[in-house]
Symmetry: C2
Subunit: 239 residues, 2 copies
Amino acid sequence: MVTKGPEPETVVSKPRRGQGASTVLEILRSEILELKLAPGAPIDESDLSQRFGMSRTPIREALIKLANDGLVVTLPNRSTIVAPLDLLELPSFYDALTLMYRVTTRLAARHRTAENVVVIRQLQDRYAEAVAAKDVAEMIEVNRHFHSQIARAGRNKYYSDLFERLLDEGRRLLRFYYSSFNDELPKAFLDEHEQMIRAIEVGDVDAADRISKQHADQIVRQIQSYIVDDRRLNADIQL
Amino acid sequence: MVTKGPEPETVVSKPRRGQGASTVLEILRSEILELKLAPGAPIDESDLSQRFGMSRTPIREALIKLANDGLVVTLPNRSTIVAPLDLLELPSFYDALTLMYRVTTRLAARHRTAENVVVIRQLQDRYAEAVAAKDVAEMIEVNRHFHSQIARAGRNKYYSDLFERLLDEGRRLLRFYYSSFNDELPKAFLDEHEQMIRAIEVGDVDAADRISKQHADQIVRQIQSYIVDDRRLNADIQL
DNA sequence: TGTATTTTCTTTGTCGACAACAAAAATATT
DNA sequence: AATATTTTTGTTGTCGACAAAGAAAATACA
């Protein structure tokens, strides 16, 4: 409690009323996703309270929301911990991720506006820059926004909410295993992204479906190169 | 604040430490789903605090969780309100509901244990009793548990979480329009449920898929007919 | 009378303190 | 010495109170 180890120490100036919880939420979320906070690590409310210079109440609110997103686990009367990476749930994760890739991209091909396409293209450009600079962190980050924007273009909040949750969890997994991130895969992504954008732009639902499935398979295979356990049972579902 | 109108007044004896928020959460959830709290109605923290005989802190925690489930909307610095029923989002709802019916039933057909089937059959029996007794409230309630249990038998928490959220929202819709609940549909459900159980029991994924899609279409059509009957808002709704 | 400004009032957001619970440490018991 | 029991310690869950932000009411002004 008193000893101050080598921990992440992002602190901000005291935010406005009503912004306390959300700023803490965002900072903690990114620290969890970037593994600055290790899976399973305990989270002390008093520590955070001191660190962010506010009382425990807004800290608590942020933790409740993180628990709802599955990023932390609350142990009653005991400390909250960063959600462990449960390898047994990976097959479920693969299954849902693949399905969400498909339905969100399909819907985007149907409902996208011209403005949507512009925003998505900008993110694709940023991704290309990250690949050129070999900036893995930036690649993971931009990749998430890229697909998140596609999902929003599909205009189905149920899907985009779940998809963003899955993308976050995936981001954590990629971080965990990103040592295997070689130079080839990011370029393959770049090409697939380009095809994806074109299908969305033209409104070709079938093409969007095909490419997004291929893309999901690619990602899943990458993660699986460590954990060989493919049980994506809905991968071939006809939509 | 002082006047006590004809409001729902479920009060419980003071719960144990750590149970405060969750009991409030469950009571509020059911009151929202059963429309005892009208969509758009403001929720006053002090009122609830008095009603449940606890401080505002655990009340607040419950409200945060309800907001995460989309059942209430928090207006910053102003009162929280019960989430409105947004008719413009119905197409998204139909789409997601149908897909979740399908994937959860498919997965259940693969992963169900003997024990799962027993529990599901018990719920089917309860549903049959409710139909015989023409107890609409019980039918809606049991129907939700029936499909929720099927989803859990599929063992994919991403799907079952989303599905339960959708079922809850659907429950609220059915409540809202259930004046036109006639005698025929519930029996059709009974039959479809029976087929569904059999497909799950035998492990026939294709049959499970077919029946669940049929079932979902049935429900969507039912909701749509209510809305067309009650209001003429279908001009903007994609049918 | 109708609009602009000030004041009051209600409700939320935040705070510091205390009580309850569980784990860890210390003591007793065999 | 090993286990059972008690004490201590640390952390969470809950509380009552206060401050900030809007909304409503009251007042001033045209």
